[in-house]
Amino acid sequence: MRLRTRIAVTFLALVSATLAAALGAVSIANRDNAEREVQRQLDVGARVFIRAMESNRRQLSQAAQAAAADYAVRQAVSQGDTDTLASVLENSRDRIGAAMAILTSLDGRVVADSGSDSLIGTDFQFPQLLRPGKATDSDAGVVVEHGHIYQLVAAAVRSPLPAAWIVMGFELDGRSTQELAQLTGLGITLSIESPAGWSDVVTTAGTAGRDAADLATRRLDLTGKAGNRVTATLSRSLAEARAPFERLTRVLFLIAFASLVVAAFAIFALARNITRPLRALAGAVDRIRSGTYDVAIPVQRHDELGLLAEGLQVMQSAVQSRDSAIRRLAYEDTLTGIMNRAAFTAALDASLTKVSRPIGVAVLNLHRFRRVNEHLGFGVGDAVLTRIAARLQADQDAGVTIARLAGDEFAAYTTLEDGAQLQPWGAALLARLSDPVVVDAQPIDISMTLGLCIAPADAATADELLRCAELSLERARRDKQPLLAYSPALQPTARDQLSLLGELQRAIDADELRLFFQPKIELATGRVAGAEVLLRWQHPVRGLLGPGQFLPFAEQTGFIRKITRWTIGQAAAQCAAWYRSGRPLQLAVNVSADDLADLQFDRRVARELLRQHLPANLLTLEITESGFIEDPEQALQLLTALAAIGVSLSIDDFGTGYSSLSHLARMPVHELKIDRSFVLGLERDPEYAAIVRAAIDMGHSLGMKVVAEGIETEAAEGALRALGCDIVQGYRYAKPMPLADLEAWLEGRARVPVLALPAATSPGDFADTAVFEAS
């Protein structure tokens, strides 16, 4: 229901209910009043009627007594002068307008009559009225004779003892009843009872013919001492009594109806006055919601609605300015002013639907940008990013759309004639961006890796294209290539990794990770120098997974830290078991670059050693060269701390990174592990032999043991032996194997003796640090 209708209906209902209640109350009161009024009139009428009858009686009594007391009458009675008596009676009768006057003897015989002589000598019909010896001399009563009703009074004639009775009477006829009716204002019916029942003798006009249900009546018993019963029925028409009240009620109904009509108009007008501007405002709000911000608010008022309209106007411009700000934030990179990832995705999607030709997508990543920030400050870093963006901007004019995706990652796409142009376009892009950037007159070398893909061949949507390009970039960086175009071969691994995401967490909880051990052999003596701990994942569905299938992903997601902690914990426990059994064996655990970013890492290692009561030098941590390229200072600090604990440190994959030799010299490392790629090339490429020799010499000169891994052939072993390598590791000696196999393999083999340093005994030194439980 609309507001206007609701307001109108509510108020009209209220007004109607109020009026109805008032009218109902008035109607009921009127009806009650009418009935009460009728009852009151009947009460009054009855009193008046009785009073009138009493008045008549008194008049009759006075006249009769006056006549009875007349000396002449006494004389006439004593003398039996009936003629005189008759004339006296006639005189008295006419004086008060009575209907009759007679004189009877004491025993009730009519002696004289004011009218005819017909009754003389007969017995008076109502001797009950004549009561000798009564205190008063006159008695009265209403009697019926021949269908006529009389009010009679008798008075004794004394001379001085009672000698005769004078009886006088009025007839209650139509005329006298009419007078009573006028006096009382009521209808009067006189009824008498006969053996045949009640019959009406006199009925006044206004009573006759009325419906009995309409009449309110009051019956008075007039019966005196003699004769038939006589009643007078006073009546009042209810309809007549109600008439004025009903007229009043009708007038009230008219007034109520008129008020209702007026109220209806007023309420509708008021409701419209409220709802019309509200609808206008609602319309304005609707247009603003749909993004139109130049809506003129059509309400000009000086009340609350006016305030609302003004507020809406202000809100509109506020929403507009915030909207554009949000748009800027949402689709624009605040530092460089070029598109961000969201805007780029939207633009690329738009182009994909519009353009039928192939679209090349490139994602590029600056190398070592973190170092620029750290060494030269964030201001310079930001300047570098801005310059790169500016260079890309130049391409934008040539139909290339560009964006900054994240910190040091940019993206570009353009329309190509065919797929063959992708590689040249990417190479050209790379070439243009690779010039040194000059910030504050200082040239800064930058290099970058580029990942490429092409639509619609590689993917159909912007998100997928970006992912493909990022996969290419990832692979290119890993393969140390400046540029790589996407191929579907990259994809499955990526899918596997993604699907592993949820399972990896479970792997540790469900104890699905397994430790494999690959022995290290002292080349000079053939004794066992230790073993490298390698991870396998006993996947419930996929079977046993090698580290290459899940560790890169763990490194990307940061999950590697948890895995490393778990591995160190397991390895330390195993190591401690051997140590306690008196056959110590050094175990080497791989530590990732991400682990080195953990500032608590050294303390965790120390706590674990304490927990297992394991001499620190029985644990070797192998750190990838690339692990400390990102932040050499922090890596150095951490390695120093680890060395202080007594843990052996080894540089893994030596030769593949770009670590500076000066850094290397300062690091408290005990061992160098030459990358397997050099060992594999050792046999066929003399240059590799030179590099390995240099590495071995350098390690030795820095006081390190040198380890070579990936030895498969006797030739390689020979070459390494010739170059002076200390320890070897590879399939030629043993594959990575489970613990049980290792135990068997170790059986009967000589071990390089280990000078076990005393185990730390006081956990208090590291009490503030969590160990390798989950953090």
Binding site: V77, S159, P160
Partner: protein, 209 residues
Amino acid sequence: MMRSMPFAAAAGMLCALLAALTAAAGTVNIVAKATTGAPAGDVVVVFDPLDATPPPSHPTAVVDQVNKTYVPHVSVVRTGTTISFPNSDRIHHQVYSFSAAKQFQLDLYAGSTNSHVLFDKPGLVVLGCNIHDRMLAFVVVVDTPYFTKTAATGSARLELPPGHYSLRSWHPDLTAAAPVQRITVGDGALDLPVVLDLSGSPDNLATWH
């Protein structure tokens, strides 16, 4: 005044004794009572001699008018008695009678001059005043000189010559005429009890014989 019955009886016996000693006459001591047992005053007791009729006489009597009341209320007189009706009130009175024994009227008057009426026929005469309806008196006129009226105590005493008498008694409140008795009076005293039903009223007056 109230006297106790033993005293009255003693007084009666004393009188009878005295009468027996002094003359040849009988004494009748009348004690009148209502049927309720209450002493009845104003009872007229009349003795009609059956043996000899005494010679006529012309005595007088008085019926006074005091405080709009006739005093006495009941009188008994011998035929031929002249009754005077003095007016002791300061207002005027009228006196009338429509009784058959004596019909007369004395016009309105004051004082006691010339208000005499001769009652020359036996019978009951009812007196009234035309202007004071409540004034009422009874005069019983009899042909014998032997009659009396009881005092308020109901007693009366009468000396009678010995002989036979017919006895009548009357009172305004009699419901019916009392029966006539025959009595014989000797030389001695005679106690004569009279019991009457007085529950009536003058308005339905018992007829006088």
